[in-house]
Symmetry: D3
Subunit: 127 residues, 6 copies
Amino acid sequence: MTHESRLERGSRILSEIDGLAGERVVDSLSDIAPDFARYILEFPFGDIYARPGLDLRAREIGTIAALVAMGTATPQLKVHIEAGLNVGLGRDEIVEIIIQMAVYAGFPAALNGLFAAKEVFGLLDAA
Amino acid sequence: MTHESRLERGSRILSEIDGLAGERVVDSLSDIAPDFARYILEFPFGDIYARPGLDLRAREIGTIAALVAMGTATPQLKVHIEAGLNVGLGRDEIVEIIIQMAVYAGFPAALNGLFAAKEVFGLLDAA
Amino acid sequence: MTHESRLERGSRILSEIDGLAGERVVDSLSDIAPDFARYILEFPFGDIYARPGLDLRAREIGTIAALVAMGTATPQLKVHIEAGLNVGLGRDEIVEIIIQMAVYAGFPAALNGLFAAKEVFGLLDAA
Amino acid sequence: MTHESRLERGSRILSEIDGLAGERVVDSLSDIAPDFARYILEFPFGDIYARPGLDLRAREIGTIAALVAMGTATPQLKVHIEAGLNVGLGRDEIVEIIIQMAVYAGFPAALNGLFAAKEVFGLLDAA
Amino acid sequence: MTHESRLERGSRILSEIDGLAGERVVDSLSDIAPDFARYILEFPFGDIYARPGLDLRAREIGTIAALVAMGTATPQLKVHIEAGLNVGLGRDEIVEIIIQMAVYAGFPAALNGLFAAKEVFGLLDAA
Amino acid sequence: MTHESRLERGSRILSEIDGLAGERVVDSLSDIAPDFARYILEFPFGDIYARPGLDLRAREIGTIAALVAMGTATPQLKVHIEAGLNVGLGRDEIVEIIIQMAVYAGFPAALNGLFAAKEVFGLLDAA
């Protein structure tokens, strides 16, 4: 059996979770910071998402909640809303977790999260 | 059948999720802002946590992730780490979701979240 | 006398404060999260802005200050700059409160707040 | 008539608003960063709070709201809760503006703000 | 020898650091908040950047790091990426400091910082 | 020549930068999240701080600036103030970079950063 490197494992998991959106992010870094593209594959995906102990569905709930609450990472939130759908979350479940963030990060954070979800869902419907 | 008010529903769910820690927060507001204690019962718990469509286990994953990522609400994070255990999350699962936040909110946020979890787990072991 | 529900009271106050901008936000949620539209009417407006003890002018000063300082809610800041005008704040007073935020949240926060105000004022002048 | 310098004006206004709490902050910087103590007197107080166009009561509403919403400046929030009382805000008004922040920055931010107010009010009652 | 005022010193240093980008920001405030334009010249540039004890290269490293980590001030980050180049930082050094922020503020903050740098570098190459 | 692993390189650099403070953090994770202790050694120190292209002095300026501006990571800020001294920054230079953050993140952030520095310097003087 061939050993899978962190980079290979991260590429495989990123592709499984984020599909083309993840690849586009990595590609967009190729001129300015190719090492950072590699770190994204290795650490978040090769190390963290690859860990047993929490399934990808639960991991995406946590990521979507955090990105909505932080309010500073709209492009990444959109990628992870699509990722949530890819790993089995329903649109209604994603909407639930965003609504819940009104409690912890305020109504504007939840509202902006819902608008991000609306945009992602709309693009998927139009595709 | 008697209709349950938002306040009654919120009190029931807060008690189910947070146990005594939730009651203590509500009691601590009785002199300075009793209306706010009522809002906590009514809106987060009577309205949001009461919603179908996402189970309490998933909701607490989202809340723990958000509070770790925000980094501004340590007392509430501790309450929700205990709440996570109450609704069926394992200690290892809580540690997983906190570790994951290093990716989205940085290593200090995850580190401070782990120290909060360590404190909560220690208090429970000593009880 | 007919009792006014939280939803009715919230709709009335939202309309008084935000005018058409508030209605547009509520309408934009009708497909993705109609319950959240209802919560916006019920809790922030039906519960909080409806409270006696602080007039709407003072409440909008607090909201504008907070949204400028947070820096994560530009669309909501614009709505509340217009709301501030609707409840009696002068343009100069709104500019004052934004400038003051340089002290607490830094010069970029104040600068971005001023650009939001400039955009709102410009749209009103063009209308 | 003698011209008042920015430093003199700032010292006068800081003393008027914050009383001894402001002086203690300035004194505590005398060994590590005396220039920064001077900047605090000159810019926030000598320049900003000295501006006409918004009274000190309105300015403290904005500051309290912002510091509660940010959640990263508890010591400064306590100073400005006391400052709010000094410039004529009632305890109930301060509680109102803190409660309102639940809408914009989430329930934990408001809760931690209320606990800060409870501590300040308690110290004043004990004095 | 003529004494240079804070305003004159700030204008000189802003021009040295930010070039035309700084002037454009100041000009854009002339209608809505001319006093704030003056404060920008006087306090950040006339007082702070003018201080001995840390060279402009080190100051811009700190500013770029902070703005990337905060994630709420993209327009100002772009200005300071260009400012960093103006005071002698290499493109590679700016990329390094942005990548490092993944550790402290998370991967999305670093990613959005890299995209801002890519945009600034691209505009300079096209000029 | 023996190849140094990421873990070995990270341990060496952490020890060089943070000395005992870094080791204490890693040790404190041994019961709750030993993998996260390993990630801290591997990614921030083994990958990022090990990169050529920016010296450790410049890297610590960026880290201190970011942690002061974020305001959510006081324990880590203290570790990096000491780290800054270890890699050659003077106390005056650290104070300069903290003061500068008043411009970008507000006066409370800078003030709390200065108090953290005062505590670190005091402990070193007492040792």
